[in-house]
């Protein structure tokens, strides 16, 4: 338990110390809101800024959580993971500490954007909404921290990892509906998006932020908040269940894999940690 708390604190400290990273993580989302908000003006959506913002927030949480893969690989390359693994600390506590810190950091990033967003277009009519928003961010953060940690345990080479990570996260964000409405995607990509967990995370999160909980499925589909797969409508609630199921699978996989991984086999000599991850 001590280990979990200590590693959680370590993750938070690292987040607040990395000032440049902090600023960029705030600037980029608004850049996206500005660009994509202008490009994809849609008649069906009555509040395009809030619509974009909600997508951007959840993407930020998603990317922040997946970043656990980078920090864990960073810890392996820098050797810190070796120090942890020759200590009597339980590996499961280490895994949980890392997961919780990544989930917390990503939620914090989401909250920061949300707070700024509340001045620029997001309006909540009841106090329940921010509570649900927070809960949703924590869930999504945890789920993708699991995915991130799992990715990290598969890594064998620190240098190729960054490329692979970008190759996975970029398409996942762009065909999730967060930036580009799904209806505007070409047919093939649309099919791919049905297999993208982020599609579902975006849909239910957007519904919560836009306070559209009382709409019918048909209306939700029209506003791009529910996904219509050949007539079968995935409601936001179902989306949430899908995400949680994926999350449970990955959290278990990640923890198991982390406990078993032999971190000493990682090719350390070929890469300089600070040069790679800054």
């Amino acid at each position: 338990m001590q280990t979990v708390i200590a590693l959680w604190k370590r993750g938070l400290k690292a987040f607040f110390r990395n000032k440049t990273g902090l600023i960029f993580s705030l600037v980029f989302p608004f850049f996206f809101v500005y660009v994509f908000g202008a490009i994809f003006k849609n008649d069906f959506i009555d509040n395009p800024i809030a619509y974009m913002l909600s997508g951007v927030i959840i993407t930020t949480v998603f990317e922040g959580a997946l970043n656990l893969a980078s920090t864990t690989v960073d810890d392996m390359v820098s050797g810190f993971m070796k120090e942890v693994l020759v200590s009597p600390a339980k590996r499961i506590s280490v895994a949980i500490g890392q997961l919780l810190s990544a989930a917390t950091v990503s939620t914090l990033q989401g909250i920061l954007i949300l707070v700024i967003g509340m001045f620029t277009g997001i309006k909540f009519t009841t106090w329940i909404t921010p509570l649900f928003v927070l809960l949703a961010m924590i869930c999504v953060g945890l789920v993708f921290s699991g995915v991130g940690l799992f990715m990290a345990t598969l890594v064998r080479n620190g240098q190729t990892f960054q490329i692979i990570k970008t190759a996975i996260t970029m398409p996942l964000t762009f065909i999730s509906g967060a930036y580009v409405p799904l209806d505007m995607l070409p047919g093939a990509l649309k099919v791919v998006s049905y297999f993208n967990p982020m599609t579902y995370a975006t849909a239910f999160f957007r519904m919560i932020v836009l306070e559209k909980t009382n709409l019918s499925n048909a209306e939700l589909v029209k506003e791009g908040l529910a996904i219509n797969i050949n007539g079968f409508v995935v409601s936001p609630v179902l989306s949430f269940i899908i995400i949680m199921a994926i999350g449970a699978v990955f959290l278990i996989l990640a923890t198991r894999s982390f406990v078993k991984t032999d971190f000493s086999r990682l090719n350390r000599s070929s890469s300089d940690a600070s040069a790679l991850w800054g």
């Binding site: 280990t3 820098s78 050797g79 810190f80 070796k82 120090e83 020759v86 200590s87 009597p88």
Partner: protein, 306 residues
């Protein structure tokens, strides 16, 4: 004396490749033990297995009576490890690194502060306590790692090439800390090094080559057994010196400007010298070094195989 590290018939295979082949040795409590060998000889495999990172293929390895395979947690609590490459968290301060380490090793909270002060004083880093690791020099980082390796009061401290890449001054400082430790806290130190003169300071030395231990003794005994003293003689009359050396059956090699002569047997050499008194311009006697021991033991082997 009681032995604290016990290795019996330890073998480690990677597929068909045998990295360590049935080695056995013991390390006595409170001593400095040097584990030497050329790259790829099985040094790291052994040290990593003792540190519970690698799994053995067969054999028994115990530290302070605890088995490294079945009692990992107990072994980990009993040892401190300083790896060849840094394992510090560069984004955190010295203090934060030490505190985190204390959490991993279940050090009671009320003791943490006292222990941090103790180990930082030991390695002269009290003033740098709040500095970020990334702002420290290589030697300082190594000292932080040594401090960290000690903060949970281990019985055995593993040092994997603790002085590699450091300047001579820092190296001698690190050695000061190591010896201070051994004396004051009676810690057993297990180290690997590339610097042969460092190995000489140790109580016992084992040399591993090709996965087997080829020598295991005190530095003095090894030196006695494996090195020869040599004399380097410069003379004005080369022909006569050669003749005399042959007469007294002294082995020699003619080099550019001087003769290298086997000086192990001092009497015939003195004879040659006294008879050549007037023409000899310079003489230098070199005692065998530990480097010679190492080359003698491992170098020869490599040549035989080739």
């Amino acid at each position: 004396m009681k032995s604290i590290i016990n290795v019996k018939n330890f073998t480690k295979k990677y597929g068909d490749f045998v990295a360590v082949n049935d080695i056995s040795f013991e390390v006595e409590e409170g001593t400095i033990f040097a584990f030497l060998g050329p790259n790829g000889a099985g040094k790291s495999t052994t040290i990593n297995t003792l540190c519970t990172i690698f799994e053995k293929t067969s054999g028994t390895l115990t530290i302070d009576g605890k088995d490294v395979t079945n009692q990992k947690s107990e072994v980990r609590s009993a040892i401190g490890v300083v790896f060849q490459d840094s394992t510090l968290d560069a984004k955190m301060t010295i203090e934060e690194n030490l505190k985190l380490h204390c959490v991993f090793y279940n050090i009671p909270k009320k003791e943490v502060e006292e222990r941090i002060q103790f180990v930082l004083k030991l390695v002269d880093l009290t003033a740098e306590r709040k500095k970020l690791i990334s702002s420290l020099s290589g030697g300082m980082k190594r000292r932080v790692e040594i401090a960290r390796g000690l903060i949970h009061y281990p019985k055995v401290l593993f040092l994997d090439e603790p002085t590699t890449g450091l300047d001579p001054q820092t190296r001698s400082h690190i050695w000061e800390y190591i010896r201070k430790l051994q004396k004051e806290r009676n810690i057993t130190i297990f180290l690997t090094t590339h610097y042969m003169e460092e190995a000489e300071i140790c109580n016992k030395i084992a040399i591993i080559d090709g996965g087997v231990i080829v020598a295991h003794d005190t530095p003095y005994a090894l030196k006695k057994q494996y090195t020869k003293d040599k004399a380097f003689i410069t003379t004005k009359n080369e022909a006569e010196l050669e003749l005399l050396l042959q007469q007294y059956q002294l082995e020699y090699v003619k080099k550019e400007g001087y003769y290298r002569v086997d000086a192990e047997n001092i009497h015939p050499l003195l004879q040659v010298l006294s008879e050549q008194k007037n023409v000899i311009t310079d003489i230098e006697i070199k005692k065998g070094t530990f480097n010679d021991v190492f080359l003698e033991i491992t170098g020869k082997k490599i040549r035989e195989e080739a």
